[in-house]
């Protein structure tokens, strides 16, 4: 583990990605303490203020301080998107690897089910789940997870098919290893690299999907300072107060880039051959 961290910090992408995410993590943990104003206090006199010394990122249509909202909103946005991606990654990787290993009819059954899930647009599918389960942030997370699983399964399966052909899998079968050992210990570690890279890209999608759900009133609820929700709300005021939309948008982009860079760094650091 210490080796991986060392290699991560030594590679430029890993270092930058790690820096962005450490900043993001600070916002998640201490955002509420950093925020100079109450993110939900409305001020009629301070509406549509451009960024200034008083309001660093300006104010929105209700006079709320955007800097405070971004700081406090980091928790909802990042943690929930990360949770959704992580859950879909773990489930998808295990199902995909198992499908590739078992092959034959089991493989067919799993993959056709995944195709069926995939044929429904992910937003529509998420809407369906949330409206069935009821409105809450956790249900939104669950919806995103289920919508993302098929993509993960596909990627994990295609990578695992190559690993399945390797002699170390044959050796494990010939040795009489249990199926779960072969899937979890022999095959999964060899396919984590592409899956982690894919997952880091998905975090950005998860943030957007979560924002969309919030916009439609099925995720975070309006006064809450969620980044996606802030972008959605600011759309109408783009021409007279562009910072309202740009700042949470840039925050989403930066976090997404941070995850992508970290993914690149991790891919190299996790490969024992590149040491």
């Amino acid at each position: 583990m210490r080796d991986v961290m060392k290699h991560l910090i030594l590679s430029p992408q890993g270092a930058v990605g790690l820096f962005i995410l450490v900043v993001a993590a600070l916002m998640v943990c201490g955002g509420a303490h950093i925020a100079p104003y109450d993110p939900e206090s409305i001020s009629i006199l301070a509406r549509y203020k451009a960024p200034s010394a008083e309001h660093w990122f300006g104010t929105d249509q209700l006079g709320r301080d955007i800097f405070s909202r971004v700081m406090v909103g980091a928790r909802a946005t990042i943690v929930l998107s990360l949770l959704a991606t992580l859950m879909s990654m773990v489930t998808g990787a295990v199902i995909g690897t198992a499908s590739a290993y078992l092959g034959g009819k089991t493989d067919e059954a799993i993959m056709r089910t995944m195709d069926a899930v995939m044929s429904i647009p992910s937003l529509l599918f998420a809407l369906l789940i949330v409206s069935t389960l009821g409105q809450s942030s956790f249900n939104a997370v669950l919806a995103i997870t289920i919508a993302f699983v098929p993509g993960m399964v596909r990627i994990a399966r295609s990578v695992s098919l190559a690993a399945r052909q390797q002699d170390y899998v044959s050796a494990a079968i010939a040795r009489g290893e249990a199926t779960h050992y072969i899937i979890l210990r022999e095959m999964l570690p060899n396919i984590v690299a592409p899956i982690i890279v894919e997952a880091t890209i998905r975090v950005a999608f998860a943030i957007m999907l979560f924002a969309t759900l919030s916009f439609l009133g099925l995720g975070a609820q309006p006064p809450e300072p969620e980044w996606g929700l802030m972008v959605s709300e600011a759309r109408a005021y783009f021409f007279n107060a562009p910072w309202m939309m740009l700042i949470p948008g840039v925050a989403i982009a930066l976090v997404a880039i941070g995850f992508n860079l970290l993914g690149d760094g991790l891919r190299d650091a996790l490969n024992p051959r590149s040491h």
Partner: protein, 544 residues
């Protein structure tokens, strides 16, 4: 030296490495190839022989730096030439033939397109002329029905035929110099013998100068007039093939010559093995593919391929049984069936176990029958440390009395003559031979009764191969293990096997005593196989 076609003078090449000293790949290489001469270049992997071949072709890795020296082709210095000049030369005056004919032909173009392209480019012919000449060239390399061959795609012809097409292409532009990089390594014994005969004939006719790169000393001695031995980028010895074999001067050459398997020199003692059968196979059939319900309903042809048909074989306790045959003969399928990797039908009797399918193989059977694979790179999980890999069978089958896991792993590593500290390493930090030793240690974690070795030395250098074989024989003396040794290397198997089974296209042709294989061979295929192999003995007598 004046009529040398290719002359390399004091040539040195380094690879620049990030964060470390440049790696000296070639140092002060001097050699020359006369018209009509074949110079062999022999060395183990990593000796720089292929790098030298590519240097002559002027196609080098981005981090390669030439320190000194000249490469002259017919008096012109290749190092000074511009890129367009070189492009005219390559494929024309200077050709190269690679190890794997499958990889050097483009799978999306027909063979005809690939030949005519060269002719149009270097001989300035139009498409019709090129087609006619192409057909003529293919018939010249003894390919049957050349006109039809021109329309085929690479996957539709055999490996030997592909290599013939490549040779035809290389000879098409009347080259002055050809570089052969292990042209027969990927082929089976009989087709490689045919390719070599073809090459000898074309060389007589055209008087081309060739540089023949190979790791196989016996083969090179048969092919080449002179042999250069390359060790870690230095030419340590240069002599005629016969002198090199009979009286090698340099210590490294002596080591190489000694490591070449010689069927006349048996490594196993003559004492008869016990008559008690350990494993007996009765009418084993192995099929790939399946004939599904839909296929049957649509009256489609049965797509099954029979990899082994009616194979019956017995292995006695402590006996080494060799299985030989070319690729596709079903020898690896047999190994996979016995370890439960592919389904089979027929009866397997293993020391009291009666098995008629792979579902009946239990943990006890799997413990007693172990398999070692061809490529240690692939058979050791790259994400697990050596200690973890070796400990796995211990956890499955139980630890030996009075030892904890770490002690057992250390003892096993020492048994295969590796330092115990290797337990903390990853497989990629080890050399090929060391990795194969780890695989052997894993197989012997719980001393098995039968070990199936599937081409375990094919990916290794000769000197490493010799030590691995020695290790296996020592383990057999200690534990009385029987081996089913699958290989295509007849010289090697004749050194160690008590009996040798010859397989051809899924059939078991005959089982011969390993010691006197040549005398007892009755089947035509076996005789052809034995005749096609280059033994050190033959290499010497042919040059007399």
């Amino acid at each position: 030296m004046s009529d040398a076609v290719l002359a390399i003078e004091n040539y040195s090449l380094d690879y620049l490495l990030p964060q470390s000293e440049p790696l000296q790949v070639l140092q002060d290489i001097s050699l020359s190839v006369q018209r009509g001469e074949v110079v062999g270049l022999v060395g183990e992997s990593g000796s720089g022989k292929t790098t030298l071949g590519w240097s002559v072709m002027r196609y080098m890795a981005a981090n390669a730096r030439e320190r000194s020296g000249r490469i002259l082709l017919a008096g012109e210095d290749l190092c000074q030439m511009s890129a367009p000049q070189l492009e005219n030369l390559r494929g024309g005056k200077l050709g190269m033939i690679f190890q794997d004919p499958g990889a050097s032909l483009n799978p999306t173009l027909t063979l005809g397109e690939q030949i005519t392209e060269v002719l149009i480019r270097h001989r300035g012919l139009d498409a019709r002329q090129a087609l006619e000449l192409g057909i003529q060239l293919l018939s010249h390399v003894e390919l049957k029905n050349p006109a039809a061959m021109m329309k085929r795609y690479p996957h539709q012809v055999s490996g030997g035929e592909k290599q013939r097409v490549l040779i035809a292409t290389a000879f098409a532009c009347e080259p002055q110099c050809l570089i052969f990089d292990e042209p027969t390594t990927a082929l089976d014994v009989i087709s490689s013998a045919q390719i070599l005969a073809l090459f000898a004939r074309l060389r007589e006719e055209t008087g081309v100068a060739s540089l023949y790169i190979s790791h196989d000393l016996a083969l090179v001695s048969a092919v080449a007039d002179r042999v250069c031995v390359l060790e870690k980028g230095h030419i340590v010895e240069q002599a005629t093939a016969r002198t090199l074999f009979l009286s090698p001067q340099h210590a490294y050459t002596q080591k190489l010559v000694a490591a070449v398997p010689d069927p006349a020199h048996r490594l196993t003692d003559a004492t008869p093995v016990s008559a008690q059968p350990l494993l007996s196979l009765q009418n084993i059939n192995i099929d790939y593919g399946r004939h599904g319900l839909l296929d049957r309903l649509l009256r489609r042809e049965n797509g099954k391929t029979r990899a082994a048909s009616d194979v019956s074989l017995t292995v006695h306790r402590g006996e080494i049984v060799g299985v030989v045959g070319e690729s596709g003969s079903g020898k690896s399928s047999l190994a996979k069936a016995l370890t439960g990797l592919v389904p089979f039908s027929g009866k397997v009797d293993f020391n009291g176990y009666n098995l008629s399918g792979r579902a009946e193989m239990d943990k006890d059977y799997r413990r007693r029958v172990q398999m070692i694979f061809q490529h240690p790179d692939a058979s050791l999980n790259p994400r697990q440390r050596i200690g973890e890999i070796i400990a796995r069978p211990l956890r499955l089958y139980g630890l030996p009395e009075g030892e904890n896991e770490a002690q057992a792993v250390a003892r096993l590593l020492e048994d295969v003559r590796l330092p115990a500290s290797f337990a903390r390493r990853f497989p990629h930090e080890l050399s090929g031979g060391q990795k194969q030793r780890v695989a052997i240690a894993r197989a012997f974690a719980h001393p098995p009764e039968l070990v199936i070795c599937d081409e375990i030395t094919a990916a290794l250098d000769v000197s490493v191969q010799a030590t691995v074989i020695e290790l296996l024989l020592e383990l057999r003396r200690r534990y009385g293990t029987a081996y089913l040794f699958i290989t295509h290397d007849l010289n090697l198997i004749r050194q160690i096997a008590h009996r040798v089974a010859v397989m051809y296209r899924g059939d078991l042709l005959e089982v011969l005593p390993g010691e006197a294989m040549a005398q007892h061979a009755s089947h035509e295929y076996t005789k052809a196989l034995l005749a096609a192999v280059h033994t050190p003995e033959k290499a010497i007598t042919e040059h007399l």
